[in-house]
């Protein structure tokens, strides 16, 4: 059952990605991007990673792609803007894609999947027995939140006999917040720069009639 669903979502994701590459129309590309990213979110749901899947939907599908289409709507000169790729671009893109594929393949093949599965199974049997959602139904938001604060259930609750002392890490919350604030500053700066340019242009526009009058 899960294998069938996995195959379905994986094929949809790949098909969407191919659609993005092969279609010529910008908005259709955006649509295929939605298909691909949505299928990826489906894969996350299938892996019981609810929080990541919802984030994928909210940020990439609901946010980024909508902004993309919005940008196309505001900027395109012709009704259905088409893009033509030159052979040089094809070569460049193909090379980059193959290089990325190589990196990802080596990374994926370097992980010991069976050992990791064993470890995760042991952890799951210890944590979260008495919550609203039993384990393996996708209650990932709390572990993610506590990990951000520095408490790792999967590490800290492991028995001492394994030779790993429970340790509290400082967590990623501060780093995360700094990055968020940094992004916000970038956004505000971009908005300011865009505005400033417009003001300058308006000034020159308003000056020119006076100059011609003079």
């Amino acid at each position: 059952m899960e294998t069938v669903l996995f195959a379905l979502y994986a094929l949809t994701a790949c098909g969407g990605a191919l659609g993005v590459v092969l279609s010529q129309n910008v908005v259709r590309m955006a649509f295929w991007l939605v298909v691909s990213l949505g299928a990826t979110a489906g894969l996350f749901f299938l892996l019981h990673a609810d929080f990541v899947a919802a984030t994928q939907l909210l940020i990439y599908v609901g946010g980024t792609v909508v902004l993309l289409i919005f940008g196309v709507m505001l900027t395109s000169s012709s009704p259905f803007a088409a893009m033509k790729t030159t052979p040089a671009e094809l070569l460049q893109g193909g090379f980059l894609g193959l290089a990325l594929l190589g990196v990802m393949l080596t990374t994926v093949l370097a992980v010991h999947w069976n050992e990791n599965n064993e470890m995760l199974r042991q952890v799951d049997s210890q944590v979260n027995d008495l919550t609203y959602n039993p384990p393996e139904t996708g209650n990932t938001s709390r572990p993610i939140g506590t990990a951000l604060l520095g408490a790792r259930f999967d590490r800290d609750l492991r028995p001492e006999s394994e030779g790993l002392s429970p340790s509290l890490s400082p967590g990623y919350l501060l780093v995360f917040e700094i990055i968020s604030v940094h992004l916000l500053v970038v956004l505000v700066g971009a908005a300011y720069l865009a505005r400033a340019k417009q003001v300058v242009r308006n000034r020159t526009d308003s000056r020119s009639p006076e100059q011609t009058a003079a």
Binding site: M1, N25, V27, R28, F31, V34, D50, F51, A53, A54, T55, L57, L58, V61, G62, G63, V65, V66, L67, I69, F70, V72, M73, L74, P79, F80, D129, L130, T131, Y132, N133, P134, P135, E136, T137, G138, N139, T140, S141, R142
Partner: protein, 404 residues
């Protein structure tokens, strides 16, 4: 057997009754039952509230509204509308991008319908009781705008394009206060699980998150306003402003494709009303102390009582959210439509600062109380009124066995 309608339990029930089937058949059957239920909940509000919209708007404008179809109050009007719309020709303009034009109504429909999966209809009755339920619901709702923008763009008409641009600008800005205000009940309840958020609101209406502290009280009204905008309901229905844009994003649509947009819109209205009722108005609790205490005391193991209390909870939640939908209709036929710049001003200059202040206030409030009253809540502490988790140890073990 305690909670019949949780997917895994239903599949467990199927595999008990029909043990000779392979393992994936019960899961598929249970998923089918749930999908049908969700689909019904998707169609039903549209059926009821389109009639209500016509009737209420008629009364507000001193007319009668529909009177003939289906007897005295014209209550079959929606069915007549549906049959008429199905008979209409399925048209697409030559200038349109056919593929996206045909597809975009379904994006709107499906995004709203999938959001119903994570909403609990009563204690524990949800398609998926996810820990990040609220987040998933908001994420799925945010996909609705995609269908509308694509519809506006692919129609090949300037009215549609204007509607699409307005909708995109409006939705992208209103997502910000929506997210911030939705975080307030999450901060109070300490959970994004919608079931847990309702669970802490038991034992009297003063325990509802609405009356938790002044910030939450204002947050409810901000949430209601923002959801009005996110459903493109008047006074924020700029995307389909009839007086300026003919029909906005749906100008070029006809027949069933047109009606899919409105199925999505009315189901979305009901969905956000359910969310508002769950987040702020006590969900399936009556708000009357002794009834709620009796409901909490009912053992979930006893099938009949456990089941009946949940049916009662379902009815209460439906009543609350229907009332909120009626308020939405009432607002639509009372207030004039804003201009697009006013819509953006309302969001960016008023709603976002207000929701920031509310968020800060919610964070500071427990500290303030702890400093003055030596406790973190004004009324009874959250932990004391919370009923036990709905999944007891035996069910958890059962579920775990199934998964393995």
């Amino acid at each position: 057997m305690a909670i019949l309608l949780i997917a895994t339990t239903l599949s467990g029930w199927f595999s008990e009754v029909l043990p000779f089937l392979p393992a994936w058949v019960p899961i598929l059957l249970a998923a089918g039952v749930h999908a049908t239920l969700v689909a019904l909940f998707f169609g039903l509000p549209a059926f009821v509230f389109i009639w209500a919209e016509r009737k209420v708007s008629g009364r507000i404008q001193d007319r009668l509204g529909p009177t003939r179809t289906g007897g005295r109050f014209g209550w079959l009007q929606s069915l007549a509308d549906g049959i008429k719309l199905m008979q209409k020709e399925d048209l697409a303009p030559r200038a349109a991008d056919q593929f996206l034009f045909n597809l975009s109504p379904f994006i709107v429909c499906v995004s709203v319908m999938t959001a119903f999966i994570v909403i609990p209809f009563s204690d524990g009755w949800a398609g998926v009781l996810a820990d990040s339920g609220l987040f998933i619901a908001l994420a799925l709702l945010s996909l609705e705008v995609l269908g509308i923008v694509l519809a506006g763009y692919s129609s090949g008409s300037k009215w549609s394009l204007f509607g699409g641009i307005r909708e995109a600008a409006q939705m992208v800005s209103y997502e910000v206060p929506l997210g911030m205000v939705a975080v307030i009940p999450v901060m109070i309840a300490g959970s994004m699980n919608l079931n847990e958020i309702v669970a802490i609101q038991s034992g009297g209406f003063w325990n509802w998150i609405l009356f938790y502290h002044p910030f939450a009280f204002i947050a409810f009204f901000v949430f209601f306003t923002v959801t009005l905008a996110s459903n493109k309901r008047a006074p924020f229905d700029l995307a389909e402003a009839e007086s300026e844009l003919v029909g906005g994003f749906h100008t070029e649509y006809s027949g069933m494709r047109w009606s899919y947009f409105f199925l999505g819109e009315y189901a979305g209205m009901f969905l956000v009303s359910m969310l508002a009722a769950i987040l702020f108005l006590g969900g399936w609790w009556t708000g009357i102390p002794f009834i709620d205490q009796a409901l909490v005391a009912v053992p979930t193991e006893s099938f009949a009582y456990g089941y009946l209390t949940r049916v009662l909870g379902l009815l209460i939640l439906m009543t609350k959210s229907s009332l909120l939908v009626v308020v939405q209709i009432w607002i639509r036929w009372t207030l004039p439509r804003l201009r697009i710049d006013q819509v953006m001003t309302t969001c960016l200059k008023y709603l976002i600062p207000i929701s920031c202040v509310l968020l800060l206030g919610t964070a500071v409030w427990p500290l303030l109380l702890a400093g003055t009253l030596q406790r973190t809540t004004l009324l009874s502490p959250v932990g004391e009124r919370m009923p036990p988790p709905i999944v007891d140890r035996s069910t958890a073990e059962l579920l775990k066995r199934e998964v393995h």
